[in-house]
């Protein structure tokens, strides 16, 4: 038979000799192995204090982006909803009224933008589909919740903080992503 790997070892079927029969020596060898593990470095990550770093390409919760003046980028074109294989995104468009130019970048905006995080498979196709760079996937995941209803994230949950009025929060929300993209380029 052709072996797939070089690791296969034939089973030793010789009758046990005297040392093996009384087992004590083998038990001692086994105990040395467990003792070796006793002093090994532990693999546990102490979760709330230490968090495991995500990979730079990690696809987590969606974030709705704003431009430099703090206006929402989304124009409710619906391309993300079309691209979404899990049909997790729903949105309702509305027309920008005079006087709302500081809120929305384009003449049309998303009045309602919802992603069902229980349906979402975090594939990132919405991010790829978006022509306005309005939605991207961040490096966190949806926290646990008690009811299904709360897993439907609205604009309020996903919109990035305003860079003009809340620069610190914006920097925090933005920071990690910029760092990783910079180091990649």
């Amino acid at each position: 038979m052709q072996l797939l790997t070089q690791r296969a070892k034939p089973v030793d079927r010789r009758p046990m000799n005297w040392i093996e029969k009384i087992y004590l020596w083998n038990i001692f060898k086994g105990m040395l192995i467990t003792l070796k593990h006793f002093f090994k470095k532990k693999v546990t990550i102490k979760y709330p204090e230490v968090k495991r770093p995500f990979s730079p390409v990690f696809r987590g919760l969606q974030v709705l982006n704003r431009d430099e003046e703090g206006r929402e980028r989304c124009t409710a074109c619906g391309l993300c909803a079309v691209a979404c294989p899990a049909e997790a995104i729903t949105m309702e468009a509305a027309e920008r009224l005079p006087g709302e130019e500081h809120l929305y970048r384009e003449e049309k905006y998303a009045a309602k933008y919802e992603i069902n995080m229980l349906r979402c498979i975090f594939c990132g196709l919405c991010e790829e589909a978006c022509p306005k760079d309005a939605v991207y996937l961040s490096e966190t995941f949806a926290p646990a919740n008690y009811s299904r209803k709360n897993f439907i994230y609205g604009k309020h949950d996903m919109l990035i903080p305003d860079p003009v009025t809340h620069p610190e929060e914006y920097a925090v929300a933005r920071g990690l992503r910029e760092q990783t993209t910079k180091s990649q380029s």
Partner: protein, 350 residues
């Protein structure tokens, strides 16, 4: 102070000693559960409990509290009296063994000579054997009263295991007793302090047999058949909940502590600190050195118990019986005969 022809200060001294010994064995058992989980974790490359308090040190308290707050379930078809008696008996027999262990030498405290041993009876080790064989009643009654076939099966296994291994244990001990010529644990310890060597040097095979048998007597892995989770759900305490379950689990750890102390006393010189001459030390410092020595030896032995548990898988039932009857008992007999011959030849009997 002699009222009713009783030395009352003696009675008070003994009561205080009993209280201290019981408290200490409870605390040690409590932290043995913590240590067990830590050792298990470390041997499996994990950290073990580390959430409650610094390094998880409050974990046993949290566990105890949890057990107290659990619902107490007594199955309808069980015998109520026996169901409650089971864990009580298990706990009682676990505690009673500690009465004959010499925890340290005699010390002078406030003009009185205080003996750090609850009862220095001349049949000390026989008393231990008697109480240990009573210990199986806790398991038997618990398993029987549960009115559940798995529990009953586990109790039967526990009883047959205990009886088979007690035989080998007793035979292994007879060889040692031939050398010491005394059944009193105090005398055995003092002989080891005065002599050059600990008893393990004279009785290595006897120690090995005794150690294996005490693993079996404590229902510790690889002999934990009475509570084989994978075969008997949980074993004899399956129907138990709340602190009654806690008593069963706890008595196992007390048993482990006490049997480690007895092994330390019989084979490792008890409260004898190696390379230190106790005769040169004054009362209190000798006491402290003795306690440190005894507890150090006991804790090392407890660690070895845990080390074995997290290394070896459980025996099959027929393997257990084969080892006990065809392995240990003949070996113990041979050991006994050889020791007897040597004692007769050299007249080393004390």
């Amino acid at each position: 102070m002699t009222v009713l022809a009783l030395d009352w200060s003696f009675a008070i001294e003994k009561l205080v000693l009993i209280a201290i010994v019981i408290t200490v064995s409870l605390v040690v058992a409590m932290y043995a559960t913590y240590a067990e989980r830590k050792v298990a974790g470390f041997m499996q490359d994990r950290l073990g409990p580390n959430r409650a308090g610094p390094f998880g040190l409050l974990q046993p308290l949290a566990d105890g509290l949890k057990l107290f707050f659990k619902e107490e379930v007594i199955p309808t078809n069980s015998s109520r009296f026996l169901f409650i008696l089971g864990p009580c008996l298990a706990m009682l027999t676990a505690m009673m063994t500690s009465a004959v262990i010499p925890w340290g030498g005699k010390v002078e405290l406030g003009g009185r000579i205080v003996d750090l041993q609850i009862a220095d009876i001349n049949i000390g080790i026989l008393y231990v054997f008697g109480v240990v064989s009573l210990g199986v009643y806790g398991i038997m009654i618990g398993g029987w009263a549960s009115n559940n076939k798995f529990s009953l099966m586990a109790a039967l296994r526990g009883a047959s295991q205990a009886i088979s291994y007690e035989l080998a244990m007793g035979l292994a001990l007879i060889a040692l007793l031939m050398l010491t010529g005394s059944l009193s644990l105090r005398t055995i310890t003092e002989q080891q302090i005065q002599g050059n060597w600990w008893n393990i040097v004279y009785q290595p095979l006897g120690f090995l047999l005794f150690f294996i048998c005490s693993l079996a007597e404590c229902n510790r892995a690889p002999f934990d058949l009475p509570e084989a989770e994978s075969e008997l759900n949980m074993g004899y305490h399956q129907e138990y909940s709340s602190m009654k379950l806690g008593f069963f689990l706890f008595s196992e750890y007390i048993n482990m502590f006490i049997s480690c102390t007895i092994i330390a006393t019989l084979f490792f010189g008890g409260y004898d600190m190696p390379f230190v001459d106790e005769a040169n030390l004054s009362g209190i410092s000798a006491l402290i050195v003795g306690l440190v020595a005894l507890f150090g030896k006991t804790f090392i032995l407890i660690f070895i118990f845990m080390w074995i548990r997290w290394t070896l898988p459980r025996f099959r039932y027929d393997q257990l019986m084969n080892l006990g009857w065809k392995g240990l008992i003949p070996l113990a007999l041979i050991n006994m005969v050889i020791t007897g011959a040597i004692v007769l030849y050299t007249m080393k009997a004390h």
